[in-house]
């Protein structure tokens, strides 16, 4: 476990020291500022527009951070051979992978927490009320980022950064439309198509489970049971992905 913690700390440090995080953070602040500019056009719904725009933008930026940085994180280690000295220490490859996952997830979670805090602050100052319901959406978004990070780590355990980014992006998009996929698969297609579609449906991450951003904007709180279900589903899904990724990485040859 000490190896996982050490690798996770190093990954957090590595990601934070990259300029991209700063650029994304500035972009997030800019996004919130832009929503302020747009709010007068919202005919009295400015608070909702600022909150909606801020939450959606923050989530998108954090996802971008995970996909872009995560897809090259492992490959860079192999290409520059920094991993050689690390793997000569008493640490398992699966622990190394878990450390990388934890470090990236923690950084993304910190980024989302920071951006949600900015949204909360802007709304509080501008409209005199703090939309605390946002915190429920934030918790779900952090879980969603955990699943997305696991997807990126899974693909990066056996393929190149470009393919990792492509596959991860495709999985995220498909994961947001998993229900539609199941629906279309069942509409008059051949039985084997319906069965295949159903299998893909169960394999895909159901990312809509984690999206309560629209609901909280309209004042609907995240119910504790929904949060519990999302946490259980998210943790199980990411653990399954990490176990498979760990098994693949354990067998990988370092040339």
């Amino acid at each position: 476990m000490r190896g996982v913690v050490a690798i996770a700390q190093n990954t957090v440090r590595e990601v934070i020291r990259q300029r991209m995080v700063l650029v994304l953070a500035l972009f997030g602040v800019g996004l919130v500022a832009a929503s302020q500019v747009l709010s007068p056009l919202a005919l009295g719904e400015g608070r909702k527009v600022v909150t909606d725009f801020g939450l959606a933008g923050s989530s998108l930026l954090a996802t971008l951070l995970v996909v872009v940085l995560g897809s090259s994180l492992l490959h860079k280690e192999l290409e520059r051979r920094t991993i050689y000295a690390v793997m000569a220490k008493p640490i398992r490859r699966s622990e190394f992978l878990l450390g990388k996952f934890c470090g990236l997830w923690i950084t993304a979670a910190a980024l989302i927490a920071g951006m949600f805090a900015i949204v909360l602050g802007v709304v509080t100052v501008s409209y005199g009320e703090t939309p605390w319901l946002v915190l429920g959406a934030m918790a779900l978004t952090v879980l969603e980022l955990g699943v997305i990070t696991a997807i990126v780590v899974f693909f990066s355990s056996f393929t190149t950064p470009a393919l990792t980014a492509f596959f991860a992006a495709a999985t995220i998009v498909a994961g947001n439309f998993a229900d539609d996929l199941l629906y279309f698969g069942s509409q008059g297609a051949a039985p084997w198509v319906a069965r295949a579609t159903e299998a893909v449906y169960w394999m895909l991450p159901h990312l809509t489970v984690f999206n309560a951003r629209g609901a909280v904007v309209h004042g609907i709180a995240v119910a504790p049971e929904r949060l519990a279900f999302a946490a259980a589903y998210g943790l199980l899904y990411l653990m399954a992905l990490l176990i498979v990724a760990g098994a693949i990485f354990e067998r990988r040859e370092f040339r």
Binding site: E14, A85, A88, K89
Partner: protein, 341 residues
């Protein structure tokens, strides 16, 4: 700081049943048995054997030099014994354990060839990470990191980002991280690479210190002149095979290769019979050097010189260097002795 247990381990002693009885374990610190690694070309699927039937055992407290030209299989062998690659056949045991077991690497220090470390870190941070991976307590690893950086001449650069380091400085950081856990086995892939003469001298001194402390060292190198004086034994690899293993003195047991007779004021006319006799004559200013191929001819050559009234300045035997032996082995002009440990 070494603990009493560490010292006991380093000396190879094992306490039995708490009665103070000690036995010296016979288990080698590193053992390679019939090790083979075959890669396949990803495009043509044509197999390529990088390491072929390598058998070797390292004795505790020795410095073993793994020599060979580029592509001989040295680095692949090192990767196999660290568990970075899987052997196609044969096996590696680190103190009786498979290298894939993390515990087998707890007392191992490794310096990769042309090392590259996390350039977002400083040497202190990197050594702290290394110490954490070994499970060393924070206070001890901080102290050890500072001591090692001072010892390797990097004390003034301890808080500078690694991306700003030269090749030689990075090599020193590599040595520091390899020593963080006070290893019993040090595996160094080209440790002299990128170092200036002072740096090489310091590394040699460091390796001798480690050997004196009971540490076993396996080092690969191209710099044979640097390897010869510090290695107890060397192994020569050629096309994946360990073609010779032995002490430097055993490998060079052919003894005197030739005799160099330095003389003053020898004319070409006097030198002519020596040349005709198959000896090289080289003129350097007023001095000439006659290279006599064997001891039997030496007496005749000296007698002729004295009869001609030539002043003989010195007579020196010249032995084969490790480099010359290495080149001869690679040329295939020696009988392969196999990889005996």
């Amino acid at each position: 700081m070494s603990t009493i247990q560490d010292t006991a381990h380093r000396s190879g002693a094992t306490a039995l049943g708490g009665r103070g009885i000690h036995a010296v374990p016979t288990m080698p610190i590193l053992s390679l048995e019939g090790l083979r690694k075959t890669y396949r070309d990803p495009m043509t699927l044509k197999p390529f054997t990088a390491v072929d039937e390598v058998t070797l055992e390292l004795e505790r407290g020795e410095i073993f030099g793994l020599l060979g030209p580029n592509g001989a299989g040295k680095t692949t062998t090192i990767k196999l014994l660290l568990g970075l690659a899987r052997p196609t056949a044969g096996r590696v045991l680190l103190e009786g354990r498979e290298p894939r077991e993390p515990a087998s690497r707890s007392k191992l220090g490794y310096l990769p060839e042309n090392p590259c470390f996390y350039d977002h870190l400083t040497p202190l941070e990197y050594l702290d990470l290394t110490g954490a991976l070994f499970g060393i307590a924070p206070a001890i690893r901080r102290r050890r990191a500072s001591d090692l950086l001072e010892r390797l001449g990097l004390g003034a650069h301890a808080r500078k980002a690694l991306r700003k380091f030269s090749k030689g400085m990075t090599q020193r950081v590599g040595l520091a991280q390899a020593l963080m856990n006070e290893p019993r086995l040090l595996i160094l892939d080209e440790p002299m690479s990128g170092l200036d003469p002072v740096g090489r001298s310091e590394v040699k001194a460091l390796l001798r210190e480690q050997r004196a402390a009971g540490v076993t060292v396996l080092m690969s190198s191209h710099v044979l002149a640097e390897t010869e004086p510090i290695c107890n034994r060397v192994g020569i690899m050629k096309q994946g095979r360990l073609v010779e293993v032995g002490t430097v003195s055993t490998l060079l047991q052919s003894g005197v290769r030739e005799w160099e007779v330095a003389v003053e004021g020898m004319s070409d006319a006097v030198a002519a019979p020596f040349r005709a006799g198959g000896h090289d004559v080289e003129r350097i200013g007023s001095r000439s050097v006659v290279r006599v191929r064997n001891g039997d001819s030496l007496q005749d050559v000296l007698r002729q010189m004295l009869q001609a009234g030539i002043h003989v300045h010195s007579v020196e035997p010249r032995r084969e260097t490790l480099e010359e032996h290495f080149v001869r082995v690679l040329d295939g002009r020696t009988v392969a002795r196999g990889g005996r440990s």
